[in-house]
């Protein structure tokens, strides 16, 4: 455990290059990633999709929410140490408070008591911590079962998995229940967002490319990479009116309809 953390710290520090705006798509292993994507898509088509339909169709949403809350609550400590490592003491304190209140008043976290009272629910992960420390995004990756990621976020994901006392790799009594709740919560997500997932995986001309752009855009947004604030991060802030290809037309507003 300690060795892993040390390794990550080393990688993090050596990969440190502040002001490296994540922009565009860096995907040198596209071929391999596409194979993983096809595998994930088949898994979704034959296993996750049908299972989530069954789960969502049989179990009422009021009960599904309780299970998802329970799983979410187990992840709260990850948020706490990550916010701490990012220097966001207030957020870290809130995560600890949420965990404390929801684990007791919320009956082992099945009720999000804090949110019921309008409390904040901020989430983070070790990938974000690495970002805050200055580690570059790295290459795009698609992980088996877990989907889109980047070099940096994969390291972050692995660390959170190892460090969180309630997830996969810790051999204590709550492990089994933690894993089960995680899987069921993912089923719930798949059910709740089925139109979005279906649209990306099965209705797009290239589901791999679509998933890649959606993930990168959303992830960068969540990490607060903001084009207007100085970086050239958000590709969406490219001015289409200043697009060189558009400028080739004397005036894009001499509309084709006018012809």
């Amino acid at each position: 455990m300690r060795a892993v953390l040390t390794l990550v710290l080393l990688v993090g520090v050596s990969g440190c290059a502040k002001n490296h705006p994540a922009v565009g798509i860096n995907d040198p292993h596209e071929e391999a990633n596409r194979r993983v994507h096809n595998f994930n898509r088949s898994m979704d088509q034959f296993l996750l999709g049908p299972a989530s339909e069954g789960y969502g169709g049989v179990i009422p949403s009021d009960i599904r929410v309780l299970i998802s809350n329970f799983s979410r609550n187990l992840g709260e400590l990850s948020d706490a140490y990550n916010f701490l490592l990012q220097g966001k003491l207030k957020n870290s304190g809130i995560a600890v408070m949420r965990f404390g209140v929801n684990s007791t008043a919320g009956i082992f976290g099945i009720v999000d008591v804090v949110e019921e009272f309008g409390g904040p629910d901020n989430r983070t992960d070790f990938g974000e911590t690495l970002h805050v420390w200055g580690m570059a995004e790295g290459q795009y990756e698609e992980l088996p079962f877990f989907g889109p990621s980047t070099s940096r976020d994969t390291i972050g994901f692995a660390v959170d998995l190892l460090v969180n006392p309630y997830t996969f790799l810790n051999f204590d009594s709550v492990r089994g229940i933690g894993i089960l709740a995680y899987v069921v919560a993912r089923l719930d997500d798949r059910y709740n967002y089925s139109s979005t997932v279906d649209s990306v995986l099965y209705d797009s001309a290239d589901s791999y490319a679509q998933a890649r752009t959606l993930y990168l855009q959303n992830r960068r947004y969540r990490l607060g990479i903001d084009a207007a604030a100085g970086g050239s991060g958000g590709d969406a802030f490219e001015d289409p009116y200043a697009d060189p290809y558009i400028e080739n037309y004397s005036d894009p507003y001499e509309d084709p309809y006018a012809e």
Binding site: S61, A205, Q217, D235, Y245
Partner: protein, 202 residues
């Protein structure tokens, strides 16, 4: 030469032109935070009306297309989604592509409107980005954490129109650029085939 240019007459003309520019400049830069917000206020009001109308899906899609045409800069979104390939299209291809793209957008996103039923959209604030404005809104759906939907508004078309909608950082324009690019690739770059299929897609 310089002397020729600086004859009295052209000097006067130049002065005239300069003052004319000075007079029209405020009008040309008329888009303000307030105006950008006002546009999005109208978009949001219309969308909220559609959501609460209780219409069947087909009706919602039609209404969404009307909103898109009225407040959105569809030609620039369509052209932007084509990217560099836009150069190779003839005028009539561009025209039918834009029309097909508009219907496709309306179907693809309009059919998701039923997920918004019972929800609300609230305009938060606006800020200038480069030459355009970003108007932030917050969408509150039943049983879900509120999420950010931002509109990019420009007046470069001659009217105040939005040219992108960004949902939690995901730009519709960029996502559709990936999609349209993939559709073209799938068809070996055959634009007419892509346009024909786009009419059915979404």
């Amino acid at each position: 030469m310089l002397n020729d240019f600086l004859t009295r007459r052209s000097f006067v003309k130049l002065g005239f032109a300069a003052s004319a520019v000075a007079m029209t400049a405020p009008a040309a830069l008329a888009l303000t935070t307030g105006e950008a917000t006002a546009l999005v206020d109208r978009v949001v009001a219309d969308i909220n009306k559609v959501i609460s109308s209780g219409k069947p899906l087909g009706g919602m899609i039609n209404d969404f297309e009307k909103i898109l045409i009225r407040y959105g800069d569809v030609p620039i979104i369509a052209r932007s989604a084509l990217g560099a390939d836009a150069r190779s299209l003839s005028g009539s291809q561009m025209s039918s592509y834009t029309k097909a793209f508009q219907g496709y957008l309306a179907r693809k996103y309009g059919k998701r409107f039923n997920e918004f039923v019972g929800g609300t959209i609230e305009v938060q604030d606006a800020r200038q980005v480069k030459s355009f404005y970003e108007v932030r809104t917050l969408v509150k759906l039943k049983g879900e954490a509120p999420f950010a939907v931002n509109f990019l508004v420009s007046d470069k078309s001659g009217k105040n129109l939005f040219f992108d909608i960004i949902i939690e950082g995901v730009s519709i324009r960029l996502s559709e650029k990936t999609e349209i690019g993939a559709m073209l690739d799938r068809r070996g770059g055959n634009v007419d085939q892509m346009i024909a299929d786009l009419k059915q897609a979404g």
